[in-house]
Structures are given as C-alpha cells and as structure tokens.
C-alpha cells in the first residue's frame, strides 16, 4: 500500500500558510520586543538593593516560569475578562500572554548577563563620578546585552515555536491556519508536514541571523 501524499494540496495551501507564517513572525517579534523591555526592567529589579523592587520581580519570574504558557493564555483570554468585565480580543490576548511569558525568561537572561559583567566595570564608572543609573546605562547594560545575544536568539526561537499555543484561542497564526485548512481538506499528513517545514525554515533562519549578529558584535 502506498502512502497517499498530495503535493498539489500543499502548493494550493501555501498562500494561506504564508499568511499564517507572517502572523506567527509578527506575534513573536512583538512579544519578544515587549518581552525584552519587560525583561530589562525586571532583570535589573531582581538585582536591586531594595526589596520592594526585588520581591515583586522574583514573584513575577517564578510565577511565569513555573506555570505552562498554555495556562497563562487561558488565564488572559478566559479568566481575565471575568475580572475586567470586557472581552479580550484573541490578538491582544495572544500578544499579552506571549509578552508576559517572554519577559520573565528575558529577565533571567539579562540578570545573568548583568551579573556576568566584572564588578570592576561598575566600580570604574562610579569612581569617575557617574551615578549608578548612568553606569548601568552606558557601561553595564551595553556589555551585558552583547553577551546575551545568543540567549536572546534562543528565546526568540522558543517563542516562535511556543506561539503555536495561541492557536487554542482561535488566533490565526501558522498552526491555526494549518488546522483550518485540514478541517476543509482532510490533508493532515501534507499540511502538518508543510507547517513543520515552515517552522523549521523560520527557526533556522533566526539561528543564522543570531550567529551573524554574534560575530559582528565580537
């Protein structure tokens, strides 16, 4: 018995899948961008001398890293509207869940990156009369950022793959598009193969891009 594999089905579905892939890139890029912003502040807060910065930052990071992203998506999409009394759009819910999730992981990346910078850098900055904030901004963070590019790249890849989870709230990214095409064509084998390959192309491209960035900043 030969396995039926309909290549034309993939070709016919490509335009729709391409739209899904773009949406996946869009939501990933937005989430990681917001996540980097959150992560920068939370990562610094984790290293703060003041408990009222440190403790909430730690709770946020522990909560997000200790619970599944899928559950976080459900909380934002289904549970939050009950408290707020308003419906949350799938797009807003997807970006919010992924950003909040990404922020916690990025915070840990930045925290470790900042801690990896030699203490002497802060001392040199302070000894020149610069404030803690100036030294952080001009000396510590730029160096920590360069050092964390590989991990930030990994986080981007992880988020790109994990963003498939927002398909459960009906947000039409790549995975959801695949499901919808299968619902009308029954081409599970062809479409899931195509979806997997598209994800693979995206993640490999990012890996290459990050390797290039890493080399440039050396």
């Amino acid at each position: 018995m030969s396995i039926p594999f309909d290549l034309t089905l993939i070709l016919d579905s490509l335009p729709l899948l391409a739209v899904g892939a773009l949406v996946t890139i869009e939501i990933t890029a937005m989430s990681v961008a917001i996540g980097v912003l959150i992560g920068l502040f939370v990562g610094i807060a984790e290293l703060s001398r003041y408990w009222y910065f440190r403790i909430p930052a730690k709770i946020y990071v522990d909560f997000v890293r200790g619970t599944p992203l899928l559950v976080q998506i459900f909380i934002i999409y289904f549970a939050l509207p009950i408290i707020l009394g308003v419906r949350v759009e799938p797009f807003a819910a997807a970006v919010a869940a992924c950003s909040i999730n990404s922020g916690a992981y990025v915070a840990e990346i930045f925290r470790a990156g900042i801690q990896s910078i030699d203490k002497g850098q802060m001392e040199a900055g302070r000894s020149l009369g610069m404030t803690w904030t100036q030294t952080m901004r001009h000396i510590i963070i730029p160096q920590a950022f360069r050092r964390t590019i590989p991990q930030l790249g990994n986080e981007f890849i992880a988020m790109l793959k994990d963003s498939s989870l927002v398909s459960v709230i009906g947000f039409e990214e790549l995975t959801r598009k695949g499901q919808l095409i299968i619902a009308s064509t029954y081409g599970s084998l062809e479409i899931w193969t195509a979806v997997a390959i598209i994800y693979l192309i995206m993640t490999l491209s990012i890996t290459r891009f990050v390797a290039y960035l890493e080399k440039r900043f050396k």
């Binding site: 030699d118 001392e123 040199a124 000894s127 020149l128 610069m130 100036q134 000396i139 160096q143």
Partner: protein, 239 residues
C-alpha cells in the same frame, strides 16, 4: 587635602580597618605598603567610598563625606586607577576617556576629545585613540586608565596596585607616567609593591598591617631604618 579620622571598616565580624588616622597634604605622594589582607586596598577604596566605612570620618578638600553629600560630586574630584585597569571593553580608548567628562562634567564632545588627545599624548599613546582595550597590552591599558581618570581633572589620584597585574616588562612604562604625574604636583595615594617607585617618588611611606598604620615616615627612613618589628619582618621578606 585628605583627612581620615579613626576609620573603621568591618565585614560582619571581620574587622579590616581598626582605626586609621591619616592626613594627606596637597601635592603629597603617599605610598601604602603592607602584606596582603592588611587593609591597604580597603583604606584606599574608603577614600572615594567604593567601600563604605563602618565608622570614622573622611574629609576631602574640606568636605566631610556624610550620607547627605552627593558622593558623585566628590568622586568626580578623586580619580582612581585599578589593579585590573577596568577599562570599558565595548568602547574605544577615546570613548573610555571622554564618557565621564561628557556625562558628569557636561563637557561638549569636541572639548572632551581635545582633552583626551592631549592626555593620550601625555601617557604616550597618542596613536591609540581609536583602538579598543582588547587590542592593547596591559601596560598600555593601564596608561589609558590613568588618562581616563585624569580627564575628570581630579584633585586627588588613588592607585590600587596599578602594576600588580602587569607583565614585568610593562611595569616601568606605567610607573614612569605616575612619576611624571607626581612631579606635576598631583596629590596621590598609591598602594603598591614597587619599592623602587616608593623610594624614588613617595614623600611618605605608610606601612599598614592588621588594619592599622604600624609605621610611617620618609621612604628612606622606613625602608633603611624601620623602627617596628613587623615592618622589619615585612621588609625582610620583600626586599
């Protein structure tokens, strides 16, 4: 210029400084020697509050350092050179030198760069303005670090074992820069193991051990005719 009164510093139960009294006059060069763990680096780092004293008082140029004074304005007047240079690795030599004058003193970039070029000339590195620290030898890096500190026009310079991390053949180029600086009238506190430098340049040598100043005096007196047994013991080991 610097007045230190009954300075104590402890980490938990561990006492590093046990009552230091010291006055450094304008243009004076004070060299601090002593065994490792004696507290000599801690003493230096207390002067610009990189270490916060447990008790005692420090007065810089007439201003006592208290929690209410803006420590950054005092630090801007006190340059520091570190054992491991601590240059900013992501910045060129020029950026290393101009960053603080621009950010802290509010100098224009042009002005700061003119000043940096002049300072680089003084430390013999006029051609290295656009190099990055990783491209320089240890001796060159330390000279850049000295130029960086001088760019703030400090009234006092602190040197924390500036040649200890250098290969032997690079020690002299750094000491030479420090010597010229001392001759130009800079007030300096130097922690070092370079006894030759101390004898040549220092106005006064302090021997610190166990968190206290054990002995002090003119270099030749301390080195050739030490009064205290602990000083004799230490000098016997290193000379």
């Amino acid at each position: 210029m610097i007045k230190i009164k009954d300075l104590h510093k402890s980490y938990g139960d561990h006492q590093i400084l046990k009552g230091i009294d010291l006055e450094v006059k304008k243009s004076e060069v004070v060299v601090i020697i002593g065994p490792s763990g004696s507290g000599k680096s801690t003493l230096l780092r207390c002067v610009n509050y990189l270490e916060v004293p447990t008790s005692g008082s420090i007065t810089i140029d007439g201003q006592e350092i208290t929690p209410s004074v803006d420590i950054n304005t005092i630090r801007a007047e006190v340059g520091m050179v570190f054992q491991h240079f601590n240059l900013f690795g992501h910045m060129s030599v020029m950026q290393n030198i101009t960053l603080a004058p621009i950010k802290v003193r509010g100098m224009s970039r042009y002005e700061a760069e003119q000043k940096a070029i002049e300072l680089l000339g003084r430390v013999g590195l006029a051609d290295k303005a656009h190099a990055f620290p990783s491209q320089l030898s240890g001796g060159q890096q330390q000279r850049v670090a000295i130029a960086r500190a001088l760019a703030m026009h400090p009234k006092i310079m602190l040197f924390d074992e500036p040649t200890s991390a250098l290969d032997p053949e690079m020690v002299n180029e750094v000491l030479e820069v420090m010597k010229v600086l001392a001759e130009s009238g800079m007030t300096m506190m130097v922690v070092t193991h370079e006894m030759g430098f101390a004898r040549q340049v220092a106005d006064r040598v302090l021997f610190v051990d166990g968190g206290k100043i054990i002995e002090q005096g003119k270099p030749d007196d301390v080195f050739l005719n030490p009064q205290q047994d602990r000083t004799k013991e230490f000098l016997a080991k290193i000379l």
